[in-house]
């Protein structure tokens, strides 16, 4: 009897704690919206999202260059991250000898544990001069940013894709092989399509990570507020726009940064819901 009462109390305490973490999320959302929405009303949603000029000191608040910047950088990161990540996941789940896997898996996890400022610093010191010397431009560019981001999203893509490949019933593989397909044909025609939902979810989560990355991008992208026209141009993403200007922003400028946060909030929410939706549909 006493145990049961204790159980109830513990249950309620846990419930309270669980809700407090959710309520923090709610508080953050309320705060961001409260700070940012007034500016969006004032400027107009269309002028804010499709405006091409960001000059807060003159009252121009258009974040189209940042939306395009985020898009290009993320696309570049995916172009690098998807083939590498998928190949790595297939290798890990199908071919890796146990001894190599023992070494490979922690190494990939470590890739996720490296702080982004280290990625940024490495990119700035090693990658940026390479791009500048061999390809031209300032070096601080979408290309450099995409390369670094591509590596940063690898752990997400690899681990979730590998999990979904491993979760397939062994009969799929046995069936493919029994029909006379080679190992590679089985992987490419049977296993990867069957694990499609998990793989797509991993890519979308990787995208979320890429869009949200700030510190490394501030260091590598150059942060120019112009709509980029080539991969060697400098760009600014939505997150770096907030990160780089919050120190000195006040008044409308500060609100505009929160409004940038609202746009980011929606993009990330859409991506996450998509990932959850896709990973729930188990069979592809």
């Amino acid at each position: 009897m006493i145990l049961e009462i204790k159980e109830k109390i513990v249950e309620k305490i846990l419930l309270l704690i669980a809700f407090s973490s959710i309520s923090i999320l709610a508080l953050i959302a309320i705060f961001i919206f409260g700070e940012g929405l007034p500016l969006i009303w004032k400027v107009g949603l269309k002028a804010f999202i499709l405006g091409e000029r960001w000059v807060p000191s003159q009252g121009s608040f258009g974040i189209l260059p940042m939306i395009i910047g985020s898009f290009w950088v993320t696309l570049g990161a995916l172009l690098l991250g998807i083939p590498l990540g998928l190949a790595c996941a297939v290798f890990l789940s199908e071919w890796t000898p146990p001894l190599a896997a023992m070494f490979l898996r922690p190494a990939i996890q470590l890739l996720a544990a490296i702080p982004s400022v280290i990625y940024g610093f490495w990119g700035l010191v090693v990658l940026v001069p390479l791009v500048r010397n061999y390809l031209g431009g300032p070096g601080l560019s979408i290309l450099s940013g995409s390369l670094i981001l591509g590596f940063m999203i690898l752990p997400t893509i690899i681990s979730i894709s590998e999990d979904s490949l491993r979760a397939l019933p062994p009969t799929y593989k046995a069936g493919g092989l029994a029909l006379g397909a080679t190992h590679w044909q089985t992987i490419w025609r049977v296993l990867v399509p069957a694990a499609r939902s998990g793989i797509v979810a991993s890519i979308i989560l990787g995208m979320g990570r890429a869009i949200g990355e700030t510190m490394a991008m501030i260091m590598i992208l150059g942060n120019a507020v112009k709509i980029p026209t080539s991969f060697l141009d400098s760009a600014r993403t939505l997150t770096t726009n907030i990160g780089i200007e919050m120190g000195y922003a006040s008044g409308d400028h500060r609100q505009a940064l929160f409004a940038t946060g609202i746009v980011l909030f929606f993009i990330i929410m859409i991506l996450n819901s998509l990932a959850i939706f896709l990973s729930r549909r188990r069979t592809g």
């Binding site: 704690i17 807060p56 120190g247």
Partner: protein, 270 residues
């Protein structure tokens, strides 16, 4: 079995509560003076704070960056005792008490290998507005100019805008970095770059340009020949008192001003 599970839960909850309460409970008593704000003023304030603490071992001065506006907001909300600003106060900040602690020159910097040593103000204006796009148009190599500027709202950018650009706009193509140090880093590593930073932070990795033949040095600044000069402010909410006041007094003392002068700033009392 169930009791075991129970103990397990309870012990975790106890640990959790202990951790939370230790975080909440030991909210540090505010001892000493917190100085926050402009990243341009920060290194000098740190130097002064060190010196001050040597003399007054019992007191603590905490110096943080964050930016001029962040510093001013911190003072308003009493998160900091002193705000550092590298721009003059805006109209809605005039109720604060501001003291000019020194003046700082802005240097136009290029890569040391750049053959250019001298530009006129109109030339600098045209370069930064994007009208001059190649170094050969101002007598250098045939190479595109890479502009590096500070972010919107920065005190240094604002001062540069007012003193050099006037009505012109800094090109939107310019790379944007969020501190003097970051600009210096980019300019030091890119032979085609040009940027502007606080003169006190110029070192051998970059080259400060003469402006119409006038070298940015103390003598030229004091005599008013080098014009790109702006104030460094300490900002208070009301009259400074206590520890903050004695730090301010130290900063304004001839000794501290001498230190600032050695670091390349222009002192307020000649």
């Amino acid at each position: 079995m169930k009791a075991d599970l129970m103990k397990f839960h309870l012990s975790w909850i106890l640990i959790f509560i202990a951790v939370i309460s230790s975080i909440v409970g030991c909210q540090r008593r505010q001892a000493g003076v917190t100085v926050a704000g402009s990243t341009s003023v920060e290194p000098f304030a740190e130097l002064l704070a060190e010196e001050y603490m040597l003399k007054h071992p019992e007191s603590h001065i905490y110096v943080q960056g964050g930016g001029s506006t962040a510093g001013i907001v911190a003072v308003k909300t009493h998160a900091a005792h002193i705000g550092m600003s590298s721009r003059s106060l805006m109209s809605d900040e005039k109720n604060l008490y501001a003291v000019t602690i020194a003046k700082d020159a802005i240097a136009i910097i290029v890569h040391p290998e750049n053959p250019i040593t001298d530009l006129s103000l109109p030339q600098i204006q045209q370069v930064f507005s994007g009208m001059i796009r190649n170094w050969n148009e101002v007598g250098g190599h045939l190479r595109p100019i890479v502009l590096v500027t500070r972010e919107e709202g920065s005190g240094t950018r604002e001062a540069f805008q007012k003193m050099v650009m006037e009505k012109e706009e800094i090109s939107l193509e310019a790379l944007v970095q969020d501190s003097n140090g970051a600009i210096r880093q980019v300019v030091a590593s890119d032979p085609n770059a040009i940027g502007f930073i606080s003169l006190g932070l110029v070192n051998q990795t970059v080259k400060a340009l003469k402006i119409s033949g006038v070298e940015p040095n103390l003598e030229n600044i004091v005599h008013g020949r080098y014009r790109l000069v702006r104030p460094f402010l300490f900002v208070f909410d009301g009259k400074p008192e206590g520890e903050a006041n004695s730090f301010l007094e130290f900063v304004l003392s001839p000794e501290a001003q001498g230190l600032l002068q050695k670091e390349g700033l222009v002192t307020i009392r000649p």
